[in-house]
Amino acid sequence: MSFLEVRNVSMRFGGLMAVSDASFDVAEGSITGLIGPNGAGKTTLFAIVSGFQKPTSGQVVWRGAEITARPPHLLAAEGLSRTFQIVQPFAGLSVRENIAVGAFLRHKRRADAIALAEQVAEQVGLTAELDKPAAALTVSGRKRVELGKALATQPKLLLLDEVLAGLNPSEVRDIVPVVRAIRDSGVTVLMIEHVMQAVMNLCESVHVLAQGRIIASGTPAEVVATPAVVEAYLGHGAASRLSGGTHA
């Protein structure tokens, strides 16, 4: 039994098949990557796994129980939490209050929630900004808030939707160890990511989605060597041209 299993999930929006018969597994305690070109359906797949959308067909199974289309707040209570690609801070609230909203999930008393929020803030490197309004942060700061909010719900599985997108290389270098530390604290991580440097660095296994289908799965090194993956990114025939180039 795997930790998270996506079984034959399809999602149709009118005439568009956003996700088509996608299946993959996430192993407990791993950092698993979900990569693919723009428009491949990664975010839709995330929305389905986290309960924001009901798939047209297929199932999501988590720790042996089917969770397809279970509402997000119930999934969060069971320990499945997500971040958004387009950061969604509670703009009018301070960083502390933002993270505390997540912390309130498992702590009824305000003092406990605030204490946990401050602890999480330290984990994601926001201690200095606790009193700032979330709207006043840089992109990198807001990504950290996004991470902090999700982490404060004390999840078992964390879905990260492009937490590194829009960051400069040095900011990426700063967040990579944060993600690794989260995993080392016992949280399984499934991440959508475009920044290959981070994917190669962090992920033990990677699933590649292109045009709604899983076209490859394996370790990062295996996956980037797969011709179908190269073609998905660079166009039909690119793989043979590239390998031809290296032979020449």
Partner: protein
Amino acid sequence: MTAKDVWPILLFGAVAALLPVFVTAGTLMNFAIFTLILCLAAQGWNILGGFGGQYSFGHAAFFGTGAYVTAVLQVRYGVNPYVTFLAGIALAALVGWLIGFLSFRSGLRGSYFALVTLAFAEVFRVLSNAVEFTGGAAGLLIPLDQRAANFQFESRGWFYLVVLALVVLALLMTRALERSRLGAQLVAVRENEEAARAVGVDALRVKLSAITLSAAMTGAAGGLYAQYFLYLDSTIAYGAWISVEALLAPIIGGAGTVFGPVIGAVILHTLAEATRMMVGRIPGIDLVIYGILLILVVRFPPRHFASFLWRQFRSYDPDLQIVFILRIRRRRSAQRERR
């Protein structure tokens, strides 16, 4: 809640409780009682609209329900007014829950929610005007019987104190809400509902709790109104005037703050009374001026009047009054720069 959360409310209550000692003029007491009743209605709106971001345009539905239940049960069935008052609050809360259930269940937000609440209030107004037991268009008169056991007091001062006690209770409840998990989740829903759901907030449940509490408070205001003025008709109970005042007061004073509705209600009613007193000759001219003043107050509000005053007060050093003025100036120019 800590002592720091509670003492400003108790201080406000204590100071306001002294008013009947110094003021005996009937008109002024009328004004004070009416303002406090509005405070209560506005605090109700503030819980749903200010903290929860769900802008209702039909709080008359709750005000009127509280008022009519208080009046009808005692006039028609001879029930004790204290009991009918509580029944009014309960039924207003139920109406709130029901309207909330119907509209939040179907995902109505923003202006759609505002329109639906307005429609409910209007339906109630038309119905209460048409049916027999509310007295129809002729209205409903609560017989004068000034005994404390009858929730009618010989002196206005006593009624004032009762209303004030309820306002203080409402302020304490709002403060407790603000400090609670429900309060934090409510604010989160206001700021970003999707993000709130993602971190485990049951948005529907939170919004339903808010509208129920909100309706109960505004319903209490309606019950007090009926018990004080002893007369009701459909345009008083379910009229748009109370929906508008209940939302204007918090918006002027600072929506989503504990004292905002109180400050807003005082400003609103002082403006209304002042214009009425100063220009009385041409019929309706006071309303015109009142309208213009309202536009100005809403257009140029010190954002969150209540919290603004509080911050200034806390940073205020009496020896250096000039610093206070400079600080406001600097603040203003900083705001301009930010724009």
